[in-house]
Amino acid sequence: MAALVDGAPEPQESSPIPGQGKPARVRFVGAWWAPALALSGVGLVGAAEAQRSNAGREIFFNIEQGWAVYALMAALVGLLAYGIVRHATLWMIGKPTPGLLGEVPLRFRNALRLGIGQEKVRRDPYAGIMHTCIFFSIVVLTIVTAQVAIDDDLGLHFLQGDYYLFFSFYGDLFGLIGLVGVGMALYRRYFDDLHRIRWDERVEDHLIIGGLGLLLLSGFLVEAFRINVTELEQHPEWAKWSFVAWGLAEALNVIDLTEGQTLTGHVWMWWGHIVLAFAWLGLIVFTRLDHIFFAPVNAFLLRTDSPGRLATIENIEEQEVFGVGQIQDFTWKQLFELDACVRCGRCSEVCPANVAGQPLSPMHLIQDLKAHLASVGPDIQRAGHEEGDVRAVSPLAMTGEVIGDETLWACRTCGACMQECPVMIEHVPTIVDMRRYLVMDEARIPASAQQALENIEMRGHPWRGTTLERTTWMEGLGDVPLFDGSQEYLYWVGCSGSLVERNLPVTQSVFRLLREAGASFGVLGQEETCNGDPARRMGNEYLFQILAQQLVETFKAKQVQRVITNCPHCFNTFKNEYPQFDGHFEVLHHTEFLVQALDEGKLTPRFALDESMTYHDSCYLGRMNGQYEAPRQIIEVIDGAEFTEMKRTRSKGLCCGAGGGNMWQEEVGERRVNHVRTEEAVGTGADQVVSNCPFCIQMFEDGIPSIQPEEEGRIAAFDIAELLERAVLGPDGAGSDGARPAGAGAEAGTGASSTGQ
């Protein structure tokens, strides 16, 4: 389940085929630090085996002002309290956050798994190892320090004998692990080619990592000076347990210091280490180190429903402001989230708009909002208390000036940023909230997007200028049953499936496969209308609600219970968003239905297809709904199909560029997203790129001639249903001309050969 978008309840990475459960996933979670644990074990055993000793050391050896530690500790606690209060007053200018009290056990699990367990941090293996090294080093060394304090303050004196030796060993071990992590971080920050972490580099970044490195080193040096003048002389066999400091202590002997000089050095080092330690911890209040606290809390606050669902504006007609125009229009959770951001750049690294050089970088967006909150938040907070005009406080319009319109429109709502964010920030709802303001409050929309929205209002579909009708695809298919409540499934064709030329063959393929599988189904024909997904994602929540309410009524009146959709966007909206309008239906994407029918033997791929293909995960079937397996299972059962995965695949798949209403917008920026993605598909060397979404297919078809100007050897874009239809009904729909029936060829029975990674 590491492929989860977040802590949502099971986005069903489902495999509808019974008995063929989820493929075993090799989990490397935590595997890397097994060696560290093993070494600890060795240390423990070693200590047990060693000669019983009266090992131990004098706490505050050579230090006369031990109380200074407590003074610094008190200062730190005060500082942290100040920091929390300062942040909290800013968060509280936000609106209430609904639904936080639901699903509390799940929220705790998220805090543990995603916050403490840092599951998402490890989606980047290098950063995962680095961060876990540092994290566990700090945790263990804090425990080490705490033990010293307890030992001394409570007079328990348990740091004695064998345990003292083991204690010395693992203290050094985790100090060393910390240094390994710091080393990896330093390499990435200073020697790697411009790494994402340097996209928004600040002085604090050097302070944090440099400071931690010095802190760990100084710790070792304090130890080394102490050991040099104590254990090394009296109990050299004890000293070896502190293996790093022991090595350094031996090294000190080379310099040949007098005992007095060594003791002086020890005092200096001790002070340096203590001051550095508290200064570094103090950074928590002023820098992104605060994620130590904010990340687990944000994991707790993370939504527990589907990431494919956008929040409803309740009682929309009674609102004074629609969406988010000013910083205080956000919920306090959205404001809290801004503080959790660590500027790691993972979101921007996977953001399709950013990848294509378009004016959106989710990290910068969050950081800009954070800076804006810091700049106007205190005044807004004050105005709110004094009943001033809160909306007049900010000299800048947040939506439009702090965050430019073009930034907001560039978002594909693909969810890649949220998928990667290690501190569980939810960028997409934040962006859509601001779009809502642009569209409903300011009525400021790019011309082409406006045309799509107007077309939905006027004509019930976004495809301005189409010359097709909703029934055009039915021509030549014989009897197409209309849904009357007696059938099991409503086959929802969708606007693209009926009004866009390229998508008609897909609709027809699905239809023929449904018929072949003997499914009981009907269509709505002329009565279909946009279900509102593009309107909602483009920010017109009002239009969406009207469309959704109407369609829920229609579905109920027609006694619809199960829906099969052509389009992952329709699928997501019916499945995740219609329940907000009391529309509860069982919703299948055609991919899911088809894999079910294959499993139940209702469809049999009788024709081999000697074709090579790659598969593009649509965002709304994949990331938003966790369905990665069904399409791959379909490809797998097609005889002769040679399958290659793209580099970015499954939950890391790159959007085709059409999501979030960008199907109907002109792109601004260096490249088009579909060109980038088409390049990746072409890069696999496959003959076909298979997907499951009418937008994706249009985007590929648009991108292919630009990436491959020569028609010879071009990659072709197909829907998975078109592919399966060729395998089930033959290349010509029903005949075997040119097809090699499965089982007759050389590769018969071998099934799909997979060269996937």
Binding site: I316, E317, F322, V439, M440, D441, E442, A443, R444, I445, A447, Q450, Q451, L453, E454, M458, R459, G460, R464, G465, T466, T467, L468, E469, R470, T472, Q526, E527, Y542, E711, E712
Partner: protein, 268 residues
Amino acid sequence: MHFVVCAKQIPDPETPPAAFRIDEQSNEVVPAQGIAPVLSQFDGMAAEAALRVKETAGDDTKITVISMGKESAQAAIKQVLAMGADEGLLLEDDAFEGGDSYTTATVLSAAIEKLGDVDAVFCGRQAADWDMGQVGLGISELMNWPGSIIASDVQVADGKMSVKRVLADGFETVEVPMPAVVTVSNELGEPRYPKLQQIMQAARKTVNTMTAADLGLDASSVGAAGARLKLERLFIPEVGGDCDMIEGESPEEQAQALVAALREAKVL
């Protein structure tokens, strides 16, 4: 100031050609199933022009949107109200049915007369159903106000209306004294997208209705009775005919074949 925007509700001009049908008996367009009528696009632009002027002229400018049509034309009026117009007036009477540009201009002029204090009338350059482009000028003639057509920009200052007109080879700016009539073309730009607040305010507004009697018009002077153009026949013209599809294995081959075909046809 007081502006009037004339708005007409028409069958959707973007009805797919396959769904566009005519009843040749009655000489009427058969409404396409599931395709709702819309505000004539140029009238939306006329409203946009009036609103832009209002924005510069100040809040004491009132915009009244007038439509002559059936009850369903309320939707067209509400759409312009949502864009920011202040009041709506529906001119609805069975007697108005079946008229021509002359009777339409007559009815609208009577309404403008009734309003009394109108400074400017904004119309679309033509209704996107009949494409005549006469009503605006008809109002101008009947009111005896200057009229300017096919505007891409309208400005008002010092009792004068300055109209940037689209010509075949460029633009011309004409200044006329007000009250005046202007017809607006698509070069002005897309009508604004209404703000939700305004959509909801518009929904709450009541649209006044007036009949021929209210306007003091005799039924014989309006509608089919008063029309001077008689529609004899409405039909779908036969278009083109045989299209030679240029085939080819590759775009290169298609290109070569097309050039060859054009040379053969002596076009190149």
